[in-house]
């Protein structure tokens, strides 16, 4: 472990000096994961909300499956997406394997169940609270979904952050479908895996420190935004 401190400080200075290679990796990580979370929100929120208000046979089973999918192993997701996108797979003609798009798809599969399950929980509680009001206004259950989603928006941001946390920290799926190709699909986590396998443990650790920094920064920005939105809401009320 000799030279660990010096290697670590060298890695940290790379970060502070704004090494362009490093920052393009950081940027790609953010792009892929933010995009994945946005798509997951578009799918997961309506699905979660619909599951919260609708009543139909098999609903309980669906909820159980959705909750279980929150713990879907990323490697398995990576493998499934690989099999779909491989040239021998059904979607091979799209030539998406080893592109950032493939990584986004894998992360959407991982994140959507989290967003959907957390949304369902939030909306179910809210729907109970509003049920009399909505009924007196003659709003049907499904028609109340947009209203409920809008009123729960601050709580839903937490669901998105949970999804973002899973996406940005994930390595098993993106390394399979992205291939960890330099300048094309190399993101923070796959770089950390690569540097670890080269035995550059200090550099890997320094990259891990940036990853944590990003997670903290994103959470701080979002919580500031939502706090401001809340205050605005109070002023209007």
């Amino acid at each position: 472990m000799q030279g660990f401190a010096s290697e670590f400080s060298a890695a940290m200075s790379l970060i502070l000096e704004g090494d362009s290679e490093l920052w393009s990796i950081v940027l790609l990580s953010l792009k892929v994961s933010v995009f994945a979370v946005l798509i997951s929100a578009l799918i997961g929120m309506p699905v979660g909300a619909a599951l919260a208000v609708a009543r139909f046979p098999g609903r309980r089973v669906l909820i159980i499956v959705m909750n279980a999918l929150m713990g879907f192993p990323p490697v398995v997701v990576g493998l499934l997406v690989y099999l779909m996108l491989s040239r021998s797979g059904p979607l091979g003609v799209l030539e998406l394997l080893y592109t950032p798009t493939a990584m986004i798809i894998a992360q959407v599969v991982l994140v959507t169940p989290i967003v959907a399950a957390l949304t369902r929980q939030v909306i179910e509680m809210l729907a109970e609270e509003y049920s009399e009001q909505l009924r007196s206004l003659g709003v049907s259950r499904l028609a109340s979904v947009p209203v409920l989603l809008w009123d729960a928006r601050l709580a839903l941001i937490t669901a998105l952050l949970a999804g973002f946390g899973r996406a940005i920290a994930e390595v098993g799926a993106v390394i399979i479908v992205g291939g960890n190709i330099n300048h094309v699909t190399r993101v923070m986590t796959t770089t950390i895996a690569l540097e670890t396998s080269k035995g550059n443990l200090a550099l890997a650790l320094a990259l891990g420190a940036i990853l944590i920094g990003i997670a903290v920064a994103v959470n701080a920005i979002v919580s500031t935004l939502s706090l401001r939105a809340e205050q605005e809401g109070l002023r209007h009320a």
Partner: protein
């Protein structure tokens, strides 16, 4: 406000993510971790890319996985080191033709304390026999990679089936070369590695080269174009151009000139 923010984010991301997908000509090379982790490809590829404008995208995995990915058509060129498996790949029709590219050698690395007393030996089979008799920890790739296949061949030539001791002194990591070296470094185990990965490995700890120089430790790399008749999506022209360059004078000279800490890691031997 949120909607405006989301739309702005989508536009920014959409503009910057998609161009990376559809752009200049490129090929996907399925290769092994040793060519990438040693820095060889980072060193030689810019020369080819500048000359041809073809971007080379390297997916570095174990030889076994690289071959399977190529069989699925998920690569245009295969650059690996397990000659029998490569020949089978071509014989089965998945590849067009196999060419020798370069070689280096495997070395047996182990703890400096050397509990099996193999240091200085040049006979890999004798060294492995000593390791098994001492029941000293041995870290195996266990991942069907080129190095793993070579290691199993050496055990076979020593007349030993180490998998019987799996979980005791024989430990299969199921990971890449670097990850396995990290394991060996952590538990003071013996491990068979290609010299290039060892040379460039940054976490040597208490490990050192103990056995080298056995002719059987020879490690040949080959390159194969994935058969476009099996997978019409294969970028055959660009892939062939890369192979021609790699086994031609320019590529061979580039391989020859790559040195790490003053030591040459790969020796070109295309015919």
């Amino acid at each position: 406000m949120i909607r405006k923010f989301v739309r702005a984010a989508l536009v920014t991301l959409g503009l910057t993510v998609t161009p990376a997908v559809a752009e200049a000509p490129f090929i996907v090379v399925q290769s092994t971790t040793s060519t990438q982790n040693s820095g060889l490809l980072d060193y030689i590829l810019p020369g080819f890319e500048a000359e041809t404008g073809i971007d080379v995208r390297v997916v570095a995995v174990g030889t076994g996985q690289a071959i399977r990915n190529a069989i699925n058509g998920d690569g245009d060129v295969l650059l690996v080191h397990a000659k029998p498996a490569e020949q089978k790949f071509v014989a089965d029709g998945w590849g067009v033709e196999r060419f020798d590219v370069m070689y280096n050698d495997f070395v047996l690395v182990g703890p400096k304390s050397d509990p099996a007393k193999v240091k200085g030996g040049t006979d890999i089979a004798a060294a492995l026999t000593a390791v098994s008799q001492a029941e000293a920890p041995f870290a195996s790739r266990g991942d069907d990679s080129g190095t793993h296949k070579a290691e199993l061949d050496h055990w076979a030539s020593a007349g030993i089936d180490p998998t019987e001791a799996s979980g005791t002194w024989y430990r299969e990591t199921g990971s890449g070369m670097g990850a396995t070296l990290n394991v060996a470094s952590g538990m003071g185990a013996y491990v068979l590695t290609d010299r290039a990965t060892w040379q460039s490995f940054g976490n040597k700890g208490n490990l050192d080269i103990l056995v080298e120089g056995d002719p059987r430790l020879f490690n040949q790399y080959g390159v194969i174009l994935v058969n476009p008749e099996k997978h019409p999506g294969v970028r055959a022209a660009a892939g062939q151009r890369f192979i021609d360059w790699l086994i031609g004078p320019d590529g061979q000279a580039a391989i020859e000139s790559y040195k790490l800490d003053g030591q040459q890691l790969f020796f070109p031997n295309a015919r």
